[in-house]
Amino acid sequence: MILPEVNWAAVMPSVILTVVGITVLCWELWMKEQDRKYLAWLSLAGVAGAALFSYTLWGRNESAFNGMLALDAYALFFNLIICLATGMTVLMSRHYVENNELPAGEYYALLLFAAVGMMLMAAATDLIVIFLGLETMSMAVYVLTGIRRQNVKANEAALKYFLLGAFASGFFLYGVALVYGVTGSVKLGEVATYISTHFSDGAGSPMLLAGMVLLIVGFGFKVAAAPFHAWAPDVYEGAPTTITAFMAVGVKAAAFASFVRVFLLSFGALHGQWEAILWALAVLTMIVGNLTALVQDNIKRMLAYSSIAHAGYLLVAMVAGGELGGAALMYYLVAYGLMNLGAFAIVVAVGKKGEPNEEFNDYAGLGFRYPGLAMMMTIFMLSLTGIPPLVGFTGKFYVFSAAVKAGYIWLAVIGVLNSVVSAYYYIRVVVTMYMQEGEKQVEPLSTRPALATAIVAATVGTIMVGVLPAKPMALARHSFASLQKPAQTASSTPKKDQAATSTPTATAPSKTPHH
């Protein structure tokens, strides 16, 4: 009986979040009604602890639990993004939960559990562990989506998300099964070794390609890439706004973390096969996201389609691949996280109890009555459009320059054209705020200090990371480099049953459907 060695460092951020989550869940049972606010602070402390721990682990590059998890800069970088998304969401939720009478204990506990799943996804180097992380994250988010139980739209959103999500998980699992059937392993490193030795021509076999495509469907659903995006607008609209922000940033970051790790690490040798698929997905996602966002009258739906469009830009970086593309993707996720969390925080700020104020018309005239709030919303909208010197511009610059350098000129051209289209609906918010009359009253931010902190932090981040991109970009490059040089797993010996599994050999004729 050989037990895998326990590497506490690799799971410590997740353990911290799990323990804090369970504490929050139990504490709420015994606490007085007016003490609920401490749940938010405890959750925030947990997130800060996990982030600090991830930070102290920086520089380590090892494989843990028999090659099921990686403790590398790549995972830690994503840990920090996830902690950023969760921490900001907690700050936004502090008064939102109270005003909307949401069950605070469950809310914060589920938020932390979802973050645990995301961290697991980012660090997993084993398809089964990726699936576990995916489900841990998704289950919590399904419940959070429908946590406003009396709200019809929330119910619709939760049910749609759950049914479609379960279906997508099925696709993902089927893909894992086929990949395992061909390569005889679910460990990403072993899959990579098998593919590079047996399919050195980069053609693959029909079964392997089918598995790969099913994995693309599974990941494509989670990152909301067209044509697997149909759930996103309804779910984003029905979910509580804070959870929408969390989904748009956290879920997308975690899914991309795993997507990139699987495809660049395991299927790196089959790059010629999946780049065409992802190229088409990227173009479709950008076009569908941006064109549909043009006609939305609800801010949350508009931001949902905008997040689809941003998934397209991220796919561009992924297609570009290489050190530059990977680093650009990670930088863009930070950029997207900062500006999107900020934009959603403003939507939370404008909303009131029983009066969500989510239509474009509700923003009319905000610029005169609440200049600070409107100014920060303007900054987020300009950044999402990609106006220099804000972080959205730098992010897009890195993504498109990576695409051009990798030879995907047309992809970059389509991406830039899409950014131009997106200016219409982002600027429309600004125009509505400053050039239309309206009387909507907003509860002053001074009564909601936590939310104000989140908005100001996002604004500062959007400006600072955009003006001084060198350091975060260097971090992203360093993190991505750790992915390219994976640590040796303890059990790098080939599996015994690998030879016994009937697999088509490299010489077998294989159809390549995408050339």
């Binding site: 009986m1 369970i22 139990c26 049972l29 016994a500 009937s502």
Partner: protein
């Protein structure tokens, strides 16, 4: 593929045995129909209508809580089987697992999910 042959044999044997038992009782047993015997069996209660009616959502809750503790037992059996090999580490590991489930139990009791309504 050879390692799957025992499974195939087990599946075939089980199928044969089940067919044998049901067909033997049908062929050999006396067949006397009475109205009571022809009713679907519902734990000894007289049946009350079709099974496709609407259920209270509380049954769903009870079922899902049952699954949680059912799964716990599923994990306990293989653990007990290799308890000695796992040693002290396995003991602590299982304590943590049961501890987390106990938190769940405390939570549902405190929330009143097990109250009879």
């Amino acid at each position: 593929m050879t390692q799957y042959i025992p499974i195939l044999i087990a599946v075939v044997l089980c199928g044969l045995l089940a067919t044998l038992m049901t067909s033997a009782s049908r062929l050999l047993g006396p067949s006397k129909h009475t109205p009571v015997k022809d009713e679907p069996f519902e734990c000894g209660n007289p049946s009350s209508g079709s099974a496709w009616g609407r259920f209270s959502v509380k049954f769903y809750l009870a079922a899902i809580l049952f699954i949680v503790f059912d799964v716990e037992v599923v994990f306990l059996y293989p653990w007990a089987r290799i308890f000695r090999q796992l040693g002290f580490f396995g003991f602590i590991e299982m304590l943590v697992f049961i501890g987390i489930l106990t938190v769940g139990l405390v939570y549902i009791i405190k929330k009143g999910a097990l109250e009879a309504v």
